[in-house]
Symmetry: none
C-alpha cells in the first residue's frame, strides 16, 4: 500500500492506481495528506535506522570514515528506493508541507544529533570556531539530501562515488583537514 505516492495527484487517481475504490482509500487514511505523512514517516524511520546503524558500525574508526559511512548509507537508501526517496525529500514534499498546515513538525531528517556532535567537537577545539553548530548541522543534512535528490533525478545518473566523496568532503567536521587527504578513499 506504500505507493510511489507523488502528491500533486488527485485522490481518485491515487485510489485507482492502488487498485481500490476511492472510499477504500478514505477508510485507511483520513486525508490525502495523511497518506503522504504515512509514507514519509515510514521512509524516515527506515532511513534513521540505516544511519544509526552505519554510525554505530563505524564508531571506533576515524572521523572521516564515520562521516563517509553516513553518506554511503543515505545514497544506498536512495538507490534502493528512489521513488520513496523522491517523495520524501523531493519537490512534492515541499508542496505537501505547504498544505499540511501546522503538522509539519519533524517532517525531515533531524539535524539534532549532528548538531550535538559538532558542539562537542567545537568544545574540544576540533571544529573551526567560525562554524556555528546549529546552522552547520542543518546546512549539511539539507545539502546531503538535496544532492542525492538531484543525483537521482538526473537522467544521466552517474556512478555514486564522486557524489559520496564530494559530500563527505564538505562535512563541517572535516573542513579543516589538509587537502588531498585520504578522506574519500573508504
Amino acid at each position: 500500500m506504500a505507493r510511489e505516492g507523488l502528491d500533486g495527484v488527485n485522490t481518485n487517481t491515487i485510489a485507482r492506481a492502488a487498485r481500490v475504490g476511492v472510499g477504500t482509500f478514505y477508510q485507511h487514511f483520513e486525508d490525502k495528506f495523511a497518506l503522504h505523512r504515512a509514507i514519509v514517516q515510514r521512509a524516515l524511520e527506515g532511513l534513521q535506522n540505516s544511519l544509526a546503524q552505519a554510525h554505530q558500525e563505524a564508531d571506533d574508526r576515524p572521523l572521516p570514515d564515520q562521516v563517509r559511512a553516513g553518506v554511503v548509507a543515505l545514497v544506498g537508501f536512495a538507490q534502493a528506493q528512489p521513488d520513496l526517496f523522491r517523495t520524501t525529500f523531493g519537490r512534492s514534499a515541499a508542496a505537501a508541507r505547504l498544505n499540511s498546515k501546522g503538522r509539519t513538525a519533524g517532517l525531515g531528517l533531524s539535524a539534532r544529533p549532528l548538531e550535538r556532535r559538532l558542539r562537542a567537537l567545537l568544545e574540544e577545539g576540533e571544529l573551526d570556531p567560525a562554524i556555528e553548530p546549529g546552522i552547520a548541522a542543518r546546512a549539511f543534512m539539507d545539502m546531503q539530501v538535496r544532492c542525492v535528490v538531484h543525483w537521482i533525478e538526473d537522467p544521466v545518473h552517474e556512478d555514486p562515488d564522486a557524489l559520496i566523496r564530494t559530500i563527505t568532503r564538505l562535512h563541517p567536521a572535516l573542513v579543516g583537514q589538509p587537502l588531498g587527504g585520504d578522506v574519500g578513499l573508504g
Copy 2:
C-alpha cells in the same frame, strides 16, 4: 505590481490585492505561473547583479574574502526583501515549479559560474581532489540559499554574523584551510 506573490493564493485575490480587476491581470500575464516566473526572474536578476558586483569588488582580495562577499550580498538581499526571497526560494517556489510543467529551466540561482571557478582551482591543485566541481557547486549554491531561507523564516531571527561565517566556512574552495583561520573576519 510585483506582489509579495505567494503562490497558494488564488488569482482573484492577487488581482484584488493589486487593486486591479481579474481581467486586467490576464492582460499582463498569460498565466498564474507567468506572474510567478516574472517575479522570480526579477528577483534572480537583481540577485545575480548583487553577486556579480560583490565578486567584482572583491576580485583582487584573497579567496576567503571573495567568498564572504558573495554570502554577505545574498544575506543582505534576503534581509532587504524577505518576502521576495521567500517567494523565490522558499517552499512555494518548489510547489510552483511542480505546476509550471517543463518551463522550469534556469529557475534558481545558476551554479555554473561557481562550477567553472572550482574547476579552475582544481586544475591549479588548490581544490581538494575529492571534490567534484559540478556537484559541489550545486551543493553550495543550494545550501547557501536554504540556510538563508531558514534564517528568514526563523521567528527568532538572530544576528546574521554567525550565519555568514558558517556558510562561508563551508564553501568548497575553502575546504582544507587550517582551523581558526581569519576566514570570517571580513
Copy 3:
C-alpha cells in the same frame, strides 16, 4: 434496538451504536428509512394505545375531562420517552418523510377518530358550525404534538400544567365553553 434514532446520522454510526456490524443492520432493515419507519410505528402504536385507554377511562366523564385526559396521556408519553417523541414528531421526522418517497401514508397520529367525534358533535349542534371537522381535527392533533415537541426541546422545560391546560382549552370541542370554566381543573 430502538435507538434514539435521529436521522441525519449515518448508518455506520447507527450500527456501531447498536453494537452490531453494519451488515447485521441490513439484515434487519431493508433500508435506513425502514429503521425510522419501524421506530415511528412502534412509537405511534404505543401512543395510540395510551390515548385510547385514556379516552376509554374518561368515557363517562364530561367532555372537558375527556379532552384533558388525552392531552395528559400525550404529555406523559413525551415525558417518559423524550428522544422517541422527538424522533417521531420532531424535525428529523419531517426530513425523513422527505426521503421515504411515497410510503409516507399514515406516518403520524391519525386525526380520523377526532374528526368523527367532531362531526357527531356538529350534528348534535354542540360544535360551533363555523368549524369544519376534518380541518379542525387535523389542526388540533398537529398543534397538540407541536406544542409538546416545543416543550420538550425547550431547555427551560417548565411544569407541564400550563401546557396541558392551554392545549386542552384550545380543543375545537371546547371552544364555545364560557370563560373561566373548570376545564383545566382535572
Copy 4:
C-alpha cells in the same frame, strides 16, 4: 432568481435550473443554505407585511374581524405563491433547518406580537385564564401555517372559506365566544 427553491436538491441542479453555471451560484450565495435562507427571509418579510397591513386595516373592527383578516391574508399569500409558501413552511423547511446549524433563530413567523396581544387580553379578563399566552400564541401561529400548508398540498384543494372559518374560530382570543356567533361571516 428567487427559485421555487426546494431543498433536498443538489447545487448542480439548482444552478442548472436557474440557467447558470455552478460557479455562478456560489458567487451569489455562500452556501446551499444561504439560498434557502434568502428565499425564506424574503417570503417572511412579504408575509409579515401582509399581516401587519391586514391587522392595521382591521384595527377598529371587532376582535373576530381582526383575527379573520389575519387568516385571510395568510391564505391569500399562500394562494398567490404556493411554491414559495411550501418552501418556507413545508417539510423541506424543517429539513433545511436541520442542516443550517445554529442560525435557525427567527426562521419562521414570529409569535411574539400575538403573545403580547393575548397577555393584554388576559389582564383585561377577556382571555380564558386557562390559556398561557406564550404557549397559545406559538400554538396558533404554527397551527395556522400547518393548516394552510396542508390545504395547499391537498390535491383536492377545496374552497378556502371553510379553512378560514375554522382557523379563525380556533383562535385563542375567541375561545369562549358563544357557539354559532357571526365569527366567520366576514
